[in-house]
């Protein structure tokens, strides 16, 4: 089980939204990336949460500054529109690139990126919102716009198109620190045969253990719970090991 620190960035700050809205500044991406790297994070995810909304390119200087400070994998996303955007991010220090909004407009970007960069570098970011019928719908533009696509179907399509990983976020539970949407994560993990990183909802150590045991994702992304100093990556890993979950230390 990989334990990942997720930075939601509104340059020049890492912010932490609740339900993807209401931003609070929590520090610079570079400082926090180093802090979580030193705490033992297996990976760092950097999501520019406004570039898609503002229709501007991700700011490469911030990517480089952060990438050069850490010796673990670095996934970057936000506002990625084209294969050329993928390429630029890799050249500025990303090891994986996440994509959401543009893939809903033209899903073939997943195929094209996987063919050039290898599937292992292409992460499809899903922002899920629960529906009354018990299913989940994919949202785009940082949880603002419904896409009409069913989350489980979209996850399967992303895999079929060559994506190497899914970052699964929940608009309902994100930033609240009240537990993950276990049913959502389990539904996606069971539907695909590529790694799923579960995000949105880590609050207590028990809530992290719960998602690890109940949904068995390949990775768990932590944000607010780290930003507000409720716990550290080291404490999370120690706790999971005590409870019999396999993590790298």
């Amino acid at each position: 089980m990989r334990i990942i620190a997720k930075l939601d960035v509104k340059p020049p700050q890492v912010v932490k939204p609740v339900h993807f809205e209401g931003l609070r500044k929590v520090g610079s991406p570079n400082e926090l990336a180093i802090k979580y790297y030193e705490q033992g994070a297996d990976e760092i995810f950097y999501i520019d949460i406004v570039s898609s909304l503002y229709r501007r390119e991700i700011l490469h200087q911030y990517i480089e500054d952060t990438a050069k400070s850490i010796l673990v994998p670095f996934a970057v996303g936000g506002g990625v529109q084209s294969v050329d955007d993928f390429s630029k991010l890799f050249h500025h220090g990303a090891d994986k690139v996440t994509i959401n909004t543009a893939a809903h407009k033209d899903p073939s970007i997943i195929d094209a990126a996987a063919k050039i960069f290898g599937g292992q570098s292409v992460v499809v970011n899903i922002e899920a919102k629960s529906q009354q019928d018990g299913r989940w719908e994919c949202y785009t533009d940082c949880g603002r716009i419904p896409s009409g696509r069913d989350v489980v179907q979209w996850a399967k399509e992303a895999e079929a198109r060559g994506a190497g990983e899914i970052l699964l976020q929940s608009v309902d539970t994100d930033g609240r620190q009240r537990g993950f949407d276990i049913a959502l994560i389990k539904a996606v993990v069971d539907a695909v045969n590529i790694p799923v990183v579960a995000a949105s909802g880590a609050g207590t150590l028990e809530s992290i253990l719960e998602v690890a045991q109940m949904a068995r994702p390949s990775g768990i992304a932590l944000a607010s719970v780290l930003h507000y100093g409720k716990t550290t990556i080291g404490d999370v890993k120690r706790f999971l090991i005590e409870q019999g979950v396999e993590v790298a230390v």
Binding site: L71, G93, K96, I116, G119, P195
Partner: protein, 202 residues
């Protein structure tokens, strides 16, 4: 004086940035090698690893770097391939169809077949099966970052093996001055830096 290490830039793909930073961290001076003439003055060469086999080879063939790399390795200079960079050292790859590799290491590159989810992503140990200077000091508790869907399959030149979801695969190869590693030393904390230090010490 610090050694000049060439890092091959494939074009669209490749993580030249990460590899360069990690090599500098280990004490190297880095030169990006994109065109054949860039090879001059390079003491040792690293081939990084992001991309698919077919596109990686297409780029290397188009730029004329394939021949340059073969000549460079043939002359006895140290060459280190990482992830895709290791895979393209093989005879042939089967990612998006059959593609000829650089044929510097005997082997073929095929999709991983195992019970776990693929790509294999995360930190795993490597077990050294043949002493190799590149793996000097690697202990069974050291963890290295893997991020791959394909693996090199061969029966010679193996220096390290790893396990993923009950499936054993080749994580390191060496044929004289040519080294290949399936994992990413540049993403493996201090354990990875040691690998680069070993490479610099060759």
């Amino acid at each position: 004086m610090s050694q000049q290490i060439g890092v091959v830039d494939y074009g669209a793909a490749g993580n030249v940035f990460s590899i360069s930073r990690a090599l500098e961290y280990a004490g190297a001076k880095v030169k990006v090698v994109k065109r054949p003439r860039d090879i001059s003055g390079v003491d040792k060469l690293v081939m990084p690893g992001v991309g698919s086999f077919i596109d990686g080879m297409r780029e290397l063939n188009a730029s004329g770097m394939s021949d340059v790399i073969r000549e460079y390795a043939g002359a006895g200079h140290p060459l280190l391939g990482i992830c895709l960079g290791m895979q393209v050292l093989s005879n042939v790859g089967f990612e998006y169809g059959e593609t000829e590799g650089l044929k510097l290491i005997r082997g073929e590159v095929r999709a991983m077949e195992c019970k776990g989810v693929v790509p294999h992503m995360g930190f795993s140990p490597v077990s050294v099966v043949t002493d190799s200077p590149i793996l000097k000091g690697v202990s069974p508790t050291d963890l290295f970052y893997f991020m791959h869907s394909f693996e090199v399959q061969n029966y010679t030149d193996i220096i390290a093996l790893s396990d993923y979801a009950g499936h054993q695969f080749v994580s390191g190869v060496q044929r004289e001055n040519i080294f290949g590693l399936q994992f990413h030393p540049e993403k493996s904390r201090q354990a990875g830096i040691r690998i680069f230090e070993n490479f610099l010490a060759l």
